[in-house]
Amino acid sequence: MRKMLAAVSRVLSGAAQKPASRVLVASRNFANDATFEIKKCDLHRLEEGPPVTTVLTREDGLRYYRMMQTVRRMELKADQLYKQKIIRGFCHLCDGQEACCVGMEAGINPTDHLITAYRAHGFTFTRGLSVREILAELTGRRGGCAKGKGGSMHMYAKNFYGGNGIVGAQVPLGAGIALACKYNGKDEVCLTLYGDGAANQGQIFEAYNMAALWKLPCIFICENNRYGMGTSVERAAASTDYYKRGDFIPGLRVDGMDVLCVREATKFAAAHCRAGKGPILMELQTYRYHGHSMSDPGVSYRTREEIQEVRSKSDPIMLLKDRMVNSNLASVEELKEIDVEVRKEIEDAAQFATADPEPPLEELGYHIYSNEPPFEVRGANQWIKFKSIS
């Protein structure tokens, strides 16, 4: 009831700017929460898995919807900016995979840790950075979260360790963050993500071994979107049961298009680690609508029919929307309102990202060393010197 009143007052306080329909919406009676069935996870070396039903509150539902829609529109805006050549270099988009980043964040605490590879914009957002600073980093401006020094693959936030460009390298890093969690004795876990392509990297198996040996609170998460760049999983892996590849590490295979399934699986995995049982492995079956990166149209190795089928049957935002509308957790109009707000937020962020100036040339040499008195860095020839400060 309190939540309902809070929602109503939030809406009413915005009534001055919003069209009349908004006020009408506020007077409808929505359900506080609803129970949904979610897909059972395939298990490896586990007696039981996450629950097959879950309760979604209206508040959480609206929040997940807004977050997924924000990630979706942010990625589509990045696509647009890239085609206008305002974003350069690498740009790996995650539209289609929104349920993964939003669902995972819903299953952990802000004090837990997360590290992923280069398809990282969604996670950068769910871990707390604004669309503004993400887009401005993509366009290489001083207002970017890394002041334009990093770009698409090198964004960092509190308890979010990027953004890593070398395929697979982030996995031992994640195990190391988990080691620090255990060392500090604080009950925190580290979500260590990699793709189906990276899953064949040797260093991942080295990390599995040490994580299991030392019982590190590390959740290894394979985001299987069926293609490692242009190579389908069948052509890359002798075993495509990625959730079993940890061998002695228990694993589960999760529907990565269902935000609730991802949330429950993440909660389950985190509980496993927090109980001191050591690492666990989650495979999220998901799909990316875009190609591997903006340089890849994404249709030479898969059919347009396949992409269209996933869009129409398994789109994560559509799935959540249908659930919420059908169980009276939200109305179509209300969700459309959120769409409008999100679009505006993205538009404003894109405006900023396009108008903000590039970082000043004087800062080219900054941030070489941490905690160091200023020194000089050599430029393109011996007479060009840049000052370096920490």
Binding site: I115, C145, K147, G165, Q203, H367, S370
Partner: protein, 359 residues
Amino acid sequence: MAVVSALVRRPLEQVSGLLRRRFHRTAPAALQVTVRDAINQGMDEELERDEKVFLLGEEVAQYDGAYKVSRGLWKKYGDKRIIDTPISEMGFAGIAVGAAMAGLRPICEFMTFNFSMQAIDQVINSAAKTYYMSAGLQSVPIVFRGPNGASAGVAAQHSQCFAAWYGHCPGLKVVSPWNAEDAKGLIKSAIRDNNPVVMLENELMYGVAFEFPPEAQSKDFLIPIGKAKIERQGTHITVVAHSRPVGHCLEAATVLSKEGIECEVINLRTIRPMDVETIEASVMKTNHLVTVEGGWPQFGVGAEICARIMEGPAFNFLDAPAVRVTGADVPMPYAKILEDNSVPQVKDIIFAIKKTLNI
């Protein structure tokens, strides 16, 4: 007189004192410490000082270290702080970097730096570049250490010097101790440094003992990273080296001194950031330069020194081209005669010095 005062001070001991003939009280023998023990001491002190410091690597704990550098540390600090790893360089180096990102202060040992090649991506891409890529948000306070360069009879795959490779990369600091005092001061500075530091030790130096000056015995003894040391003053020629070859240069200097040639020997101590100013000041005094290193000549430490000297004020003071003494440009052979001639010997240094001085 000393005997009398001793008698006055310690009447009970007077008989035994006389019997022990303590007529001349000699100064206490200077403290001799091996390079191995110096590194051990440095790590021990830093482990004690800061709970976040820990050591990981192959055989560092229960074996006491492949070269016994970490002897006694596991017994003292236990499994949490001294961690034996499986043979997984890329994995454990990555784990160490991740732990550093999350706020711990790891010392990651490579049994030799040859094996660091397996993990070099983690050192360069995950450690060295991160502070820059994150515009100062994410620091990586890690030390990578272990023996570097030629040993004795270990052949090609176990003898490479990585000073040039690691010295190439912005974001890294690279140090190369020669003697015991260098080793202790530099490992402590490296551990306290907030940046990724590569410490290139030398296996053949581990067992060599050096006099340990009193200040080196302090728990806060630090040698600044980025500062070279003039080991021997001279006027005729500047000889710059790092690691074990510093000793060879000093030997060469002793021999040449008898012929009236006074060499100024500089111990680089740090490869990156390199203390070019000390070298320049010396060359401006002596007008001649010879660099000495164990690594291969192409794109090496000496090549960098020569380039920097040409670019700076010291060039105009050179009376002869700068000369490099390096390892031979071959993979390290096994047979003793071949190996001996693949590393710079004292005679090679003397020859190069005389050539430069046109003697």
